[in-house]
C-alpha cells in the first residue's frame, strides 16, 4: 500500500474515490431512499454507523480471520451492526424507520461496506481503516444529501419538509418517483465525469 497521509486517506472518500459518484457503489439505497432529505440523511448516518464499526472490527481481527472464511465473517459482522442500527431506529425514531422500510436492513448488502472491508480494512491498520471509513461515510452522506435535496426541492417544493419554492411552483412528481432518482443520478454522474476530465487535463 502506498503510504498516504492520514488527511489524504480521509479526503479521498469525498471526491476522488467518492463511493457514489466515483466508485458507483451502493446504488440501491442511493436511488431508493433519496426522495426526501431527511430519509437521505438517516440512511447516510445508518450506513456510516455500520461502515465505521465494521471497519474497526475487521481491521482489528484481520490477523485472526483465515482468508478462506473472511467474506463470511465480514458479512456476519456487518449484519450484526445493521441489526443494531435497525432496532435502534425502530425503537427511537419510528417515523424514519418506517420511511426507510426494508432499505435499512438491506444495508447488509450495501457494496460500499463489504467493499471497504475487502479493499481496505483487511489490509490496513485500525487507525487508517477508521479514517478511511470516516471519509467514505462523509462522501456517501454528501452524495445522498445532494441527490435528495435536488429530488425533494423539485419533487415537492420543500427542503427538510419546509416549503422553499413559491406558490407558483408546480412540484415535478416524477422527481420523487423512481424515474426521478435515475434521471438525477445520471445527470450528477455526467457532471462528475466532466469535472473529473477537466481537472485531469489541467494536471496533464
Amino acid at each position: 500500500m502506498p503510504s498516504k497521509s492520514v488527511g489524504a486517506e480521509y479526503i479521498k472518500g469525498l471526491w476522488e474515490e467518492n463511493p457514489v459518484f466515483r466508485q458507483l457503489l451502493g446504488m440501491c439505497p442511493t436511488l431508493a431512499v433519496t426522495n426526501a432529505v431527511i430519509n437521505g440523511i438517516a440512511m447516510g448516518l445508518a450506513t456510516s454507523f455500520v461502515l465505521i464499526l465494521s471497519s474497526l472490527v475487521v481491521s482489528s481481527l484481520k490477523k485472526l480471520i483465515p482468508s478462506q472464511v473472511r467474506i463470511a465473517s465480514y458479512v456476519v459482522i456487518i449484519a450484526t451492526f445493521v441489526t443494531i442500527a435497525d432496532r435502534f431506529m425502530a425503537a427511537f425514531f419510528p417515523p424514519i424507520s418506517k420511511a426507510l422500510g426494508p432499505y435499512l436492513p438491506l444495508i447488509v448488502v450495501n457494496c460500499i461496506i463489504l467493499g471497504r472491508q475487502e479493499a481496505f480494512s483487511s489490509k490496513n491498520s485500525v487507525g487508517r481503516s477508521l479514517v478511511d471509513a470516516l471519509g467514505m461515510s462523509t462522501g456517501f452522506i454528501l452524495a445522498l444529501l445532494v441527490l435528495s435535496s435536488i429530488r425533494e426541492i423539485l419533487g415537492m417544493g420543500t427542503f427538510l419538509g419546509h416549503q422553499v419554492m413559491g406558490a407558483w411552483f408546480k412540484p415535478w412528481i416524477i422527481m420523487i418517483l423512481p424515474a426521478g432518482a435515475f434521471i438525477t443520478l445520471g445527470i450528477l454522474l455526467a457532471v462528475a465525469l466532466v469535472i473529473e476530465s477537466k481537472t485531469k487535463k489541467r494536471k496533464a
Binding site: 483465515p66 472464511v69 456476519v76 449484519a79 425502530a90 425503537a91 419533487g155 412540484p171 418517483l177
Partner: protein, 201 residues
C-alpha cells in the same frame, strides 16, 4: 493449529459473539418498539373514535382487529377497526371508527401505505380524501362518487369521494373498509365482541 480447525473456530466465535450482541440489543429495544406501536394504535383510535379515554382489544385475527373505545365513565362509545389489505402498490393499513351500534362511520385514518407519491398517496390527505369519510352511513356498503365532487354536501350519506387520478387506490381503500364493516357487523351479531373486564371501572 491446522487451517480447517481455525476456520471453524473463527466462524463459530464470530457467530456466537454477534448472535449474543443481537440478542442483547433485541431485548433492550423490544419494549420500546412495542410501546411505539401501541402509542401509534392508541393515537389512531382516539382519532377515529373521538373522546376515547381507554381502549381495549375486543377481537383480533390476521390483519384485522377490533378495538372498543370507552369514555371516562367507562361506557362504550364506539368501535375502532384496524384492517389491512392490498392497495395499488403494496399493503394499505387503515383504521376507521364507528358508533357502538355500527350505524355510521366517524372517520377514517390511513396508518400505512406505499401508494404512488403524488397520486395514490393522496389517500392520506385530509383535504382531498379523508374528510369525505366523516360521518358516513354504515348501514349498507359505501360507494365511490366518481367523478369527484368538491364538497361534503354533494355526497349521499353512503358515498365517499374518489381522488382524481387515483381511482384504484381510492377503490382499494373503499373495499377494505366495506369488507371490514361487514366483518364487524357479523362478529358483533355473533356476540363475539367480548370485553375482558365486563364491569365498567
Amino acid at each position: 493449529m491446522n487451517l480447517s480447525a481455525r476456520m471453524i473456530i473463527v466462524l463459530t466465535a464470530v457467530g456466537l459473539i454477534s448472535g449474543s450482541l443481537m440478542a442483547v440489543v433485541g431485548m433492550l429495544t423490544k419494549d420500546r418498539i412495542a410501546f411505539n406501536r401501541q402509542q401509534e394504535i392508541e393515537a389512531a383510535i382516539l382519532e377515529v373514535v373521538p373522546g376515547t379515554d381507554t381502549s381495549e382489544e375486543l377481537f383480533t385475527e390476521k390483519n384485522f382487529t377490533i378495538y372498543g373505545g370507552k369514555n371516562r365513565d367507562g361506557n362504550l362509545i364506539g368501535y375502532a377497526v384496524y384492517a389491512s389489505g392490498t392497495g395499488f402498490q403494496d399493503i394499505i393499513s387503515l383504521m376507521f371508527g364507528t358508533d357502538p351500534n355500527v350505524t355510521k362511520i366517524n372517520s377514517l385514518s390511513i396508518l400505512e401505505q406505499k401508494e404512488t407519491p403524488g397520486l395514490g398517496a393522496k389517500i392520506t390527505d385530509k383535504e382531498l380524501f379523508l374528510r369525505f369519510w366523516d360521518n358516513k352511513d354504515a348501514g349498507g356498503g359505501l360507494n365511490l362518487r366518481k367523478p369527484a365532487v368538491s364538497s361534503q354536501s354533494e355526497l349521499a350519506p353512503n358515498e365517499v369521494n374518489t381522488i382524481t387520478g387515483a381511482t384504484i387506490s381510492s377503490g382499494k381503500v373503499l373495499s377494505i373498509v366495506n369488507q371490514s364493516l361487514e366483518k364487524l357487523k357479523q362478529i358483533k351479531q355473533a356476540g363475539k365482541l367480548i370485553s375482558e373486564d365486563n364491569d365498567a371501572e
